[in-house]
Symmetry: C2
Subunit: 110 residues, 2 copies
């Protein structure tokens, strides 16, 4: 049994994807790279998590996707935040802040 590696906290993935797209459209792997970058390598999103999540978010109306060409001339599916997605990003950011603050408070308790 290999050492259990740090899994993503459930629920943070959606928020990270929305945030990754806040600065402009990206294709799937680009989103993955951006998340790794803005979290300073703490979160590494695997394909098996990424693509189902992208489809889920598109289904929910937070993202809209379209096919294009990547910077390496490959077929790639780009995603962009919808207006609703922007609102969702705000709500989830607030929610995260609430939760994080409660956790921090709890962990300091005596």
């Amino acid at each position: 049994m290999p050492a259990k590696q740090a899994n993503l906290l459930q629920g943070t993935l959606d928020l990270l994807i929305l945030k990754a797209l806040a600065t402009g459209e990206l294709h799937g792997l680009g989103i993955s790279r951006r998340i790794e970058q803005i979290t300073r390598g703490t979160f590494v999103v695997k394909p098996g998590s990424l693509f189902p999540a992208l489809h889920r978010l598109e289904e929910a109306g937070w993202l809209s996707g379209f096919w294009g060409d990547s910077e390496n001339h490959r077929r790639a599916k780009y995603y962009r935040l919808t207006k609703a997605g922007g609102g969702q990003l705000e709500r989830e950011t607030e929610e995260w802040t609430r939760v994080a603050s409660a956790m921090t408070h709890a962990l300091k308790a005596t």
Copy 2:
């Protein structure tokens, strides 16, 4: 369809239980109340989540449980942190801090 209420982030429950027991032994419902208290009401742990989690943590060796009498003279199962559980609490606290800091950084990104 009622509004979807704030679910616990997966993974935070174990940490909160360990932390709740750091100051002394408690029975199941007491742990639940303590968590609600130290998170200022942000996290409410339901029985359907609590008891499976307690059994899981005991199975893992972080907690040890024993039967006793509650402050209301009812049969109650008390839990206390094991030595291993103390180490686990430390590790999970560090892990949470790492994650929270990465998220905070990510959410500030431009």
